[in-house]
Assembly symmetry: C2
Homo-oligomer: 409 residues x 2
């Protein structure tokens, strides 16, 4: 048996990252409506002040704050109404002491005014005079020019994942399109002589292919464009043909399966033969996920990845390597994790980073992380889990009660 | 000024939930590949055992465990090789004491065998004899029949949000399609005389419409199908026409804007006049989100919702009311929140439930929740936030250091 040195997860990531000498992520300009869940490929500066005029946040009277000094329920101040502002139109007066103007919510506060009195604290005296029953301070109930955004201010950073509020912010300054990273294209190949398609009846000794379906779903959700999926028998020639074809139109080719020793060698061999400089990682000190193969081809600019055959391990390695790489190139801030308390002790795997599946349980105002144990081939462990935690290879394990960060799956 | 009694968030939710007397969520049958991020509308039972045959998790020899008793590095046990199982094919022998069979990873373990010895702990003696250098216990390195799923076992519950691992689980038992809830259809209407479209230049006193873009994005992400969006001037007739048209093809109609007192009355009036039994909530004791209007029309089976005009408030109320309602009908388990420690004191709004925006900061192995303060009209507060926390109306507020659950936005 050929023993190859395995990398730590960190070594493997570092090698892969530096092996990709080309720009994995092109950019494209898309409408803000379609940018949800995409990642900004540019810093965005506000092209204008938001708001561009002082806006009232209430229905009421624009006043000069010091005119209202001393006004109260029992002792109103009387002001002359010089204008009634309509929403959507500019004010035309400059307010002087003793004057006020009616402004609806969202309307423009006239020049000279520095506060709004809510209509609830006023009473019309006659057509042109109003009693003000409240003292307001300068700035009250007004959003001033540029209070939300200053012109030229960095509004959204490169690497921002666009949510509804970012779309709203872009609309607020009149931006119609944004530059985002293109979705990397992906081909998924699942190999194994025991695999049959979903529509086929599995005979004794055969199983339905899981990996093309599960990986396609995860990839789609994580912003990859799946070009093609294949379920292949474990034959060198078939694999060779599918991989070379995939290298023509995909940024990333993942081959899952071939987890038995002989078969794994074939995957590594095929990936290495088709690529230049080729395969550089022949295993990761990770549980689950040891039989992971990484390589690149500079000419076709393709990343080649051999995933473990076990579906749960394949999904976890896809997350830890492929999704990680995309997010790293996108310069995205770290995802939010969930802090939880270990429900039981868990041992680490000797000499390997352990990726332990856990279920989150809310209890007494805190989260408990319950390890979901089971052989790595079992899909049920993965569906029962909310996420995973890392246990360092230099750690004995985790103790009950210890606080851990759970990465959601 | 007409004072209408406002509901608490809980009262408003209860009223809305019980007012919807029809089935808001139809179901549809879709392929498992397209079911990612959808919600199962049926319990799913495993139609078969997974695996259907005992599978080896290693490359090696299927043995009768007690035959290996006492075997060690220095003292091997010799067994007769009676078969070499090919992956994807059934075994044909029944193992007897003193016999073994070669089985690759994922291959079928023959009848009679109850453990696998890894190939690393064996040595071929000749064509038909192998030396075993390790004692294994019964069940070692085998996934037994039904160990992942038993036939007839509840595999995925109704209300499950489908992730990649659920797709994989469905594939593993050969299920091609699943029944999920249909995406509710939605029309979004934004009203305001100050609003101009994205492509138009905003004149002094005017602003770009934000709400149709922000709400459409949130709705799409949360699994609604947006039928149509409108940006309308604040005119009763225009609103009437748009709402009645929307009621014909949308399950839910949201109207944002009209936040000034007079305009708000128009939205409530129009929604009430067009519906039967009509509007039942004229405001929620919620900060932000007071000017929220809720009603239903039984005949067209439409839910009518007036949202606040302020974009941040509109998005939060959309989340708290519309998304909440969908998730409640889907019987989804509660979303995972993030536990964090308050960075500062925050006051609650007297008599109103406060929905306080916060940013999460990782510090010393824990999350700190930093309140993002600012007037509710500011979009910048929302883009800076990772989520929100609730502060009860009967609470004075929150103290620095207090633990809170953050709902991610």
């Amino acid at each position: 048996m050929k023993l190859l040195k395995v990398d730590t997860l960190e070594e493997a990531r570092k090698k892969l990252h530096s092996a990709v000498q080309w720009s994995l992520l092109d950019t494209e300009e898309i409408t803000i409506q379609s940018s949800i869940d995409r990642v900004l490929a540019q810093d965005i500066y506000s092209p204008c002040m938001v708001p561009e005029f002082p806006r009232s946040t209430v229905d009421g009277y624009a006043v000069i704050a010091k005119d209202t000094m001393g006004a109260s329920d029992s002792l109103p101040v009387f002001l002359d109404i010089v204008e009634e502002i309509e929403i959507g139109y500019p004010s035309t007066h400059v307010l002087k002491s003793g004057q006020c103007a009616y402004v609806p919510t969202g309307g423009m506060v006239p020049e000279g005014a520095d506060a709004m009195v809510m209509v609830e604290y006023s009473e019309l005296f006659d057509e042109v005079k109003v009693a003000i029953y409240s003292t307001v301070s300068s700035g009250s109930n007004i959003i001033s020019i540029g209070e939300d955004r200053k012109e030229g201010q960095l509004m959204l950073k490169k690497g921002t994942l666009v949510r509804a509020q970012e779309v709203g912010t872009l609309a607020s300054v009149g931006i119609e399109t944004v530059k985002v990273y293109k979705m990397p294209t992906l081909t998924i190949i699942s190999t194994g002589d025991e695999l049959v398609g979903l529509k086929d009846q599995a005979k004794l000794g055969q199983i339905h292919d899981i990996n093309t379906y599960a990986i396609e779903s995860m990839a789609t959700k994580q912003g990859f464009k799946v070009k093609q999926t294949y379920v292949l028998k474990d034959e060198e020639e078939l694999l060779q043909k599918a991989v070379s074809q995939a290298m023509e139109d995909s940024d990333i080719v993942v081959v899952s399966g071939g987890s038995s020793q002989g078969k794994k060698d074939i995957t590594a061999k095929v990936l290495n033969e088709l690529s230049q400089p080729g395969v550089f990682t022949h295993g990761i000190a990770l549980k689950p996920g040891k039989p992971t193969i990484l390589g690149v081809d500079d000419k076709s600019k393709t990343i080649l990845i051999g995933l473990p055959g076990h579906p749960a391990a394949a999904l976890i390695v896809f997350q830890l390597i492929v999704v990680w790489l995309k997010e790293t190139f996108e310069e995205r801030p770290k995802n939010i994790q969930v802090l939880a308390k270990m429900e039981t002790n868990v041992a680490s795997a000797p000499g390997r980073l352990t990726c332990q599946l856990v279920k989150l349980i809310q209890s007494n105002g805190a989260y408990i992380a319950r390890p979901i144990l089971g052989k790595s081939g079992l899909m049920s462990t993965l569906t029962e889990s909310d996420g995973y935690i890392f246990i360092d290879q230099n750690h004995e394990g985790l103790n009950v009660g210890e606080m851990v960060y759970v990465h959601l799956l």
